[in-house]
Symmetry: C2
Subunit: 337 residues, 2 copies
DNA sequence: AACCATAATGGTACCGATACCATTTTAGCG
DNA sequence: CGCTAAAATGGTATCGGTACCATTATGGTT
């Protein structure tokens, strides 16, 4: 035993000083309707006097309820995910839930490990990013019966409930927008495709919008990079040097788009006259850039809120009214296109 | 009971099919050196066959070890905090720890609530941001004996261990840098002072650097805003309209600095010729902006790593070699000054 | 082959809260 | 005032691991 074993104050101690039974003390501290206000008062006072700190582990073991919700995101550094985490946390806090957060760095194996640990911790609900998971992960979750939400992208066949937007539609709309502006040679800078259904769908949206406009899909105009400003710049530099004649770029992430936009400016290209640039996500800085970035607005806040709402429903045992919540996107037209 | 009670597979089931006692099974699954490899194998196989999922709550109750570390940050949206969270999580994962994350939105009361809950969850360690806490929070932590790290700012008298940088020194150095460049009327845009020791120290650093240079501290050149690009722009607009003659601005956060920088550009001011702008944090986008932002580099990665390292030590029961880890900052000179 | 130190293993109790069912108290009513 | 239904409260077992101490195998030594 590393640290000296501590003798904690238990609910029995509280019960004793309050002159009630442990179970009554328990109920009083849970604000159960079953105990008389006067009793509740007594117990609360005793707890305070003794500086009682409950032991959730004992409660969880006994009730199989942990009041923990686990969320797995690819990473926390990307502000898009961070915002959603924040929103989920805020919406869940009033109900007494804490957030256990894991990042999988786009690895399905890591995700699987995380899911396994979280299930061991008897989390009350699980939130995953996207709908690409290992078979093992899926069967673990199904077998556990833990309420599960897949977020960001929507899928016809969610593990539990899906809350997000149609990345395909959004990318299609943005490409359409660029086409409508008269652009014909439109580059694409997206994230890495592997294990990232958002990027995959966005690429498809771009691809099919082009095809429907009768423009051939040209691989030499497509780049895939890690989500990093630098990478966006690099990809842009690369596209420009190898394809002098592109007149627009759709970057399927604002991080990449801003990198690309700044690279254009650095090369003294006029945006949007010489080249139009559009992004995806509506990162906070997108709106104050010069020129401001045309992008896809995603209701991050509402997504987080909806996730929290659905989770609480499912934990309560209610079936949510839908399996798929399409929270909708907005094409935000700004100066860069 | 909301969901139908589930009959879980327990370690006793595993032990039975492996033909050993529960305690041996437990040890085998912990990879204890005490069990023979052959036995470990048997148990592992049984666990796999039964799709055994351990119950950490039971383990925690019994051993008083949760393998959870709780971190409290003001918010997760700020990429600075997000990066540190990521780094702590990455460094702690190999040791089997998960992160319970709470945000207090700069409220000491909220922080206190979070600390109380986290202690109830018997977290193995606690990481707080800064060293401003309610008395109640401090006594809760002291009473619990939980290893605690205060991060970001360093303080002479930490609750446990302090890992961060001297915000005062960094702000002093940056102000000095602006002075060295010949600037005399230097504006300051910082975060809100309330419950934010980082902002407080940075303001002091700015203030005292001016004084030592024989320049009077002028309140009309100081602005305090929420950390938001918009707010940075707003503050800048405001400073410029009310003080035509300022020749530099030190924004004590890159979010604010970038907002300010972009506002200057929008007003067709030449940066740094007409006005110099510097920041704090070295946000990722700072380096690719045009002009790139002069700022204070903070070793976020190393801070996270060091925190994890110290935590593991303390959990092991070892005293860390120091109480205060000053991880150092770098003044990164770029085009904006 | 006997012996001993060490390595492996096992039995039982316990961590601290809550579930479950039983019991007591309270309040409403004729 | 007695009776009954409903409201409060209590006793005891239990959740599923691991601590603690005891016991049994194992292997090396002379």
């Amino acid at each position: 035993m590393p640290r000296p074993k501590k003798q904690h104050i238990t609910i029995r101690d509280v019960a004793k000083t309050a002159g009630v039974s442990p179970i009554t003390a328990s109920r009083a501290l849970q604000n159960s309707e079953l105990v008389r206000p006067a009793t509740r008062e007594k117990v609360a006072q005793a707890a305070k006097d003794l500086a009682y700190i409950p032991n959730f582990a004992a409660g969880t073991l006994s009730s199989d309820i942990s009041r923990i919700v686990a969320v797995i995101v690819p990473n926390m550094s990307n502000s898009i995910f961070a915002d959603t985490l924040q929103s989920i946390a805020n919406s869940l806090r009033p109900a007494g839930y804490n957030l256990l957060i894991g990042s999988n760095d786009y690895s399905l194996d890591l995700e699987q490990d995380l899911v396994r640990t979280f299930l061991s911790r008897r989390v009350d609900a699980l939130v995953l990013t996207g709908h690409l998971h290992s078979e093992e992960t899926k069967s673990l979750i199904r077998g556990s019966g833990v309420p599960t939400v897949e977020m960001w992208s929507i899928t016809d066949d969610p593990l539990g409930v899906s809350v997000g937007i149609s990345n395909y539609d959004a990318a299609f709309a943005m490409t359409r927008h660029l086409l409508d502006q008269g652009h014909r040679r439109i580059g694409f800078i997206g994230g890495l495709l592997e294990n990232n259904d958002r990027t995959q769908s966005r690429l498809r949206g771009y691809h099919e919008a082009l095809e429907q406009a009768g423009i051939e899909f040209d691989t030499s105009l497509v780049r895939h990079e890690d989500f990093d400003f630098d990478r966006g710049s690099m990809a842009m530099r690369n596209l420009l040097s190898e394809n002098g004649r592109i007149d627009a770029v759709f970057a399927a992430s604002d991080v990449l788009a801003l990198g690309a936009l700044l690279e254009c400016l650095r090369q003294n290209l006029k945006v949007p006259d010489d080249i139009a640039v559009s992004g995806f996500d509506d990162a906070r800085i997108a709106s104050i850039m010069n020129p401001a970035l045309t992008t896809i607005g995603i209701p991050r806040e509402s997504i987080g809120k909806k996730i929290a709402e659905v989770i609480l429903q499912m934990i309560r045992g209610d079936e949510p009214e839908q399996k798929i919540f399409d929270m909708g996107f907005t094409l935000i037209e700004r100066g860069s296109t």
